[in-house]
């Protein structure tokens, strides 16, 4: 028995396609309307500038009562993103609200690239480096951006 795609997901998808967020693209998969292929451009003035980062975003059955599941597919050197691309962001966990949307989630991730938070790490070794030697950490992040995040 095939379920219907909720109206909210249809509306969000239409708006994302018609009125995209600058520096972010999100396209539904051809075979699964709950799965989105996402690209986020590294923000200017951040170590990720010039990079294009691929992510996957999945809307679980309970969405919007439960948060979307989002993961970086592109390797990234960031204290709040681990080796598997998992993201440490409160709104994706206990601070989720059904008034948030795909758009606001992706904006928050874009903001996280601009403002890494080593005090709340997911990748502890990266966070350690970020706290003890920020210049070196930023240099590594730039190198990784050049090596892995070129479109």
């Amino acid at each position: 028995m095939a379920g219907a795609l909720p109206r909210r997901i249809i509306k969000e998808t239409q708006r994302l396609l018609a009125d995209p967020v600058p520096g972010i693209s999100a396209n539904p998969d051809e075979s699964n309307a709950r799965y989105f292929h996402v690209m986020i451009a590294g923000p200017d003035e951040s170590p990720f500038a010039g990079g294009v980062f691929k992510l996957e975003l999945f809307l679980p059955e309970e969405y919007p009562m439960a948060a979307p599941k989002v993961r970086f597919m592109t390797k990234i050197y960031h204290p709040n993103i681990d080796k598997l691309g998992r993201i440490c962001l409160d709104i994706l966990k206990d601070k989720w609200s059904p008034a948030l949307q795909i758009r606001t989630v992706l904006l928050s991730i874009q903001a996280l690239l601009s403002a890494p938070n080593p005090e709340d790490p997911l990748a502890t070794d990266v966070a350690e480096q970020w706290k003890t030697n920020e210049a070196e950490a930023i240099k590594t992040a730039k190198q990784w951006t050049l090596a892995y995040a070129q479109a």
Binding site: A2, R8, Q14, S31, A33, M65, P98
Partner: protein, 223 residues
């Protein structure tokens, strides 16, 4: 350039929209403590999951939501126009994952709608009547826990009617954040995760039959 009229219309649109389902508000209900307003079925879904206000994270008094009454409720209210048809996956074409996207008016949002704008200054029932003149209508009801009948909310009703007119044996709807199976052949509904033990009777009625029954309210909101 954004004209003043456009700005007014956008504000009106935002005020009418439920932050949870992002459609025109259906049975709008405020949270007593903070006054943030949502569709009743959306707010009930949030409240049943013990979540806080989706806007300000303030507390929700669950009892007041469950007991909510609307004395002047229009039991035959039409479905708001702003209710795009859900996209259904087609079960019989061999590829169960293929999504069939229907042609639909993509941006009714963007079209000027003077009637809705004017009506927006009066009450919500008037808005609904202006934007969606009801055709010869049938109603879908479910049986109350004790006795009597409730009407499904008009948006869910529209989905059920569509599935029924497509001769689907069963369909699935989301009510207050939970999935329900609508079983047309047995005229019952039940929560998908709890199963058939929680079944309730459902029926499709004409307007005259609707009047002859004592319909208690819509989707849990009683008169």
């Amino acid at each position: 350039m954004t004209s003043q009229r456009t700005i007014l219309r956008m504000n009106e649109q935002i005020d009418r929209q439920c932050p949870i389902c992002q459609c025109d508000m259906l049975l709008p209900v405020p949270i007593p403590a903070c006054n943030h307003t949502f569709c009743y079925p959306c707010l009930k879904g949030v409240s049943m999951q013990n979540m806080d206000c989706p806007i300000c994270r303030g507390p929700i008094d669950h009892d007041s939501i469950v007991r909510y009454k609307q004395p002047n409720i229009d039991l035959k209210m039409p479905c708001p126009l702003d209710s795009p048809q859900p996209i259904r996956t087609r079960p019989n074409n061999g590829d169960a994952n293929q999504v069939v996207v229907k042609d639909e008016p993509i941006d009714e949002d963007v079209k000027p709608d003077i009637n809705a704008l004017r009506a927006g200054t009066s009450n919500n029932a008037a808005v609904a009547q202006n934007v969606a003149p009801p055709p010869a209508q049938n109603y879908w009801l479910y049986q109350g826990r004790s006795r009597g009948w409730w009407r499904f909310d008009p948006r869910t009703e529209k989905d059920i009617e569509e599935a029924s007119s497509n001769n689907m044996p069963i369909t699935e709807v989301v009510i207050c954040g939970s999935r329900y199976i609508i079983d047309f052949s047995n005229s019952i509904q039940y929560p998908k995760d709890k199963g058939i033990n929680m079944k309730r009777n459902i029926r499709r009625v004409t307007s005259a039959e609707f009047d002859s029954l004592h319909v208690k309210g819509i989707a849990g909101v009683s008169k």
